[in-house]
Symmetry: C2
Subunit: 156 residues, 2 copies
């Protein structure tokens, strides 16, 4: 068993539809086929940051562009999942100060379905795969709830 | 006359409340006092692009950072004007591809009060000051209308 697999408990993690969506989005980014030999687990591994790894990452200076990209793909997967559940087209917008704080919104029509204040983006990650799945699902649930609460705004 | 009515009144140019707000915002940016000797007209002059000037600006490559900044201050003035009229706090978000297209939204609560698709940001400007004022007022009116239509979302 690899080290990656150790932290990635399959229960409530790898089979989660959100995680599958996230993997699909990552694969779609792989234009050059560079990751064809990588397992799904390998692709998601950089999302997993235990406490020690997280503490080791400095929060001063600009966040690593790869980290910002991972964050964007994570919320893209949330967006697509909300779209599939509601048939409302969702567009993400990210506004980030270069020092790693900012705001991410997922927009449907004129509604902010998901609103996330960001800080310490340098350390964006999850304790384990189950945590990643449950966080993703929380955003999806919140987004769907907002759209069902304000359908006129989401379909404006 | 209420503040909202004041903000929304159609005015010809320099006396328009929106233009005054825009000048105020520009002056507030002038930390160093470098513009103390500049008239209001001098400050706003770069916004004025007649057809000839506009055509002369190339739309390939990245837009001039000063142009992007002018665009941001323009919509900041719209945001502040909507705030004053509605008592809803407004936050702008800009997402721009470096080639000069993108999207600008003004957010109140969970509502997108103003939604603007951007293109050819390189050429952001107005034929004359009256046009600048009337465009600004149009966004303000639209924003106020949305907030009055969906107060629950704007105050969420």
């Amino acid at each position: 068993m690899t080290e990656a697999a150790d932290v990635m408990q399959p229960a409530g993690g790898f089979d989660a539809p959100f995680v599958k969506e996230l993997v699909r989005i990552w694969r779609a980014e792989d234009m050059s086929g560079a990751w064809a030999g990588k397992s799904d687990l390998d692709l998601l591994e950089p999302y997993i940051l235990d406490k020690e790894k997280r503490r080791a990452l400095p929060v001063i200076g600009d966040p690593d562009p790869d980290t910002v990209w991972r964050l964007e793909l994570f919320f893209n997967a949330v967006a697509v999942s909300i779209e599939k559940a509601t048939d409302v087209m969702i567009q993400p917008m990210l506004k980030m100060h270069h020092e790693g704080f900012g705001r991410l919104v997922l927009i449907g029509g004129r509604l902010i379905a998901v609103n996330k204040q960001l800080r310490d983006v340098h350390r964006f990650g999850f304790d384990n795969l189950a945590k990643l799945a449950s966080e993703g699902n929380k955003y999806i649930r919140d987004g769907i709830k907002m759209i069902r609460k304000f359908p006129d705004v989401a379909n404006y």
